[in-house]
């Protein structure tokens, strides 16, 4: 959608973000992902309202999958906490990369609290794509509208999946779980216009597979630091010689 529409007010920007959320490809992807999540929660014996609360509080599909499957399987709580935290490391550089884009003259710290909590793959990818086309003073409101749209979609379809779960054949349940990696892969690739981002994507795919296969501890952290730094260094070297 054209992000250039100038919003007359904060409310208009919020509603613009909401509309953008409900008409993007991520709407279908989140719907499918959270139908899968609902089915998973049902399978592991967690409640439907518990799932909805976890969507609002955690708001990160990989962490929720880990929490549901490991709590449901009766893993030790400390192990669950470590696994969830490792999967969430990516939120740190995402917030660091996003907030400078949201900030305008006179933006207060408390204006950034909600966008910080809302930061997740779908919102991050779409914000990085759409925000540069918006006036700075409307960006926080637009991004909040976008996030509320996505979170509402996810929470609603979690209930749908929960109550559908008993009916779902295994192949279809597998296909729903496949939606998350497919949409993450393609939306990240679409956003990766600069060489550095494309290189980071490829290196991350390769390193993530190799380090997991080799049973390396903290595999995701090393994938990010190794692959990301290498992509960054190559980018700096090319800039220096250009």
């Amino acid at each position: 959608m054209p992000a250039s529409a100038p919003f007359q007010s904060t409310t208009a920007a919020f509603l613009g973000g909401l509309r953008s959320a409900l008409t993007s490809a991520f709407f279908l992807v989140l719907a499918g992902t959270y139908i899968g999540m609902g089915a998973l929660a049902h399978g592991f014996g967690m409640g439907s309202w518990w799932l909805a609360l976890s969507t609002v509080l955690i708001w990160a599909a990989p962490a929720q999958v880990i929490l549901i499957s490991s709590l449901g399987a009766g893993a030790p709580l400390i192990e669950v906490a470590i696994a969830v935290s490792l999967s969430a490391v990516r939120l740190f550089p995402m917030v660091v990369a996003l907030l400078p884009l949201l900030r305008a003259e006179g933006t207060r710290l408390r204006d950034l609290l909600l966008p910080t909590h809302f930061t997740s793959v779908s919102m991050w990818v779409e914000s990085l794509r759409l925000l540069p086309g918006l006036p700075r003073e409307r960006r926080v409101a637009f991004s909040n509208g976008l996030s509320v749209g996505y979170m509402g979609t996810a929470a609603s379809f979690g209930f749908v999946g929960y109550y559908l779960a008993a009916e779902l054949p295994p192949l279809l349940a597998g296909a729903l779980l496949f939606l998350t990696p497919m949409s993450f892969l393609m939306s990240t690739a679409r956003n990766a216009k600069a060489m550095m981002d494309q290189l980071a994507l490829v290196l991350g795919l390769v390193l993530g597979t190799l380090l997991t296969a080799a049973n390396i501890q903290l595999d995701l952290m090393w994938t990010g630091i190794g692959g990301g730094t290498l992509a960054y260094v190559v980018h700096r070297l090319r800039e220096a010689t250009a």
């Binding site: 279908l28 992807v29 518990w50 976890s54 509080l57 990989p62 929490l67 499957s69 709580l77 669950v80 906490a81 969830v84 935290s85 999967s87 969430a88 990516r90 939120l91 740190f92 550089p93 660091v96 990369a97 907030l99 400078p100 950034l112 793959v121 295994p170 192949l171 597998g174 296909a175 729903l176 779980l177 496949f178 998350t180 990696p181 497919m182 892969l185 393609m186 990240t188 679409r190 990766a192 550095m196 981002d197 980071a200 994507l201 991350g204 795919l205 390193l207 993530g208 380090l211 997991t212 595999d219 995701l220 990010g224 630091i225 692959g227 990301g228 730094t229 992509a231 960054y232 980018h235």
Partner: protein, 115 residues
């Protein structure tokens, strides 16, 4: 008392071993990002690290699947990923077209091998 505990403990676990260990990284980001602008080298580097970690999560979900997806053979999952990505590249980098093609290939492959 015991009944209340049984009722409340999943919610307590959600907060303590779900919400807090997840949210802490967002809060760290908020603290570090204060005063940085989007052209800062640390912000550019952070974008590269975030992209690489995200790619790692994608690879793990596809190659080392769990739950119902693990029941579909690895070859089918990788073939479907390639199929989806090629469609994405062929049709004007459309995420929607790529996801539909990947899902279609996965369902077809899983169905054929399941029969």
């Amino acid at each position: 008392m015991n009944a209340v505990w049984t009722e409340m403990s999943p919610y307590l676990a959600l907060i303590l071993v779900g919400y807090l260990p997840n949210e802490i990284w967002r809060v760290f980001g908020l603290v570090l990002a204060r005063g940085l602008n989007e052209d800062s080298q640390i912000v550019v580097w952070s974008r590269a690290v975030a992209t690489a970690i995200l790619a790692g999560v994608i690879a793990k979900l596809i190659v080392f699947s769990t739950g119902a997806l693990a029941g579909i053979p690895l070859g089918v999952r990788i073939g479907a990923t390639v199929c989806g990505f090629l469609t994405f590249l062929a049709i004007k980098r459309s995420v929607f077209a790529g996801v539909v093609a990947g899902e279609g290939a996965l369902l077809l492959g899983g169905w054929l091998l399941g029969h």
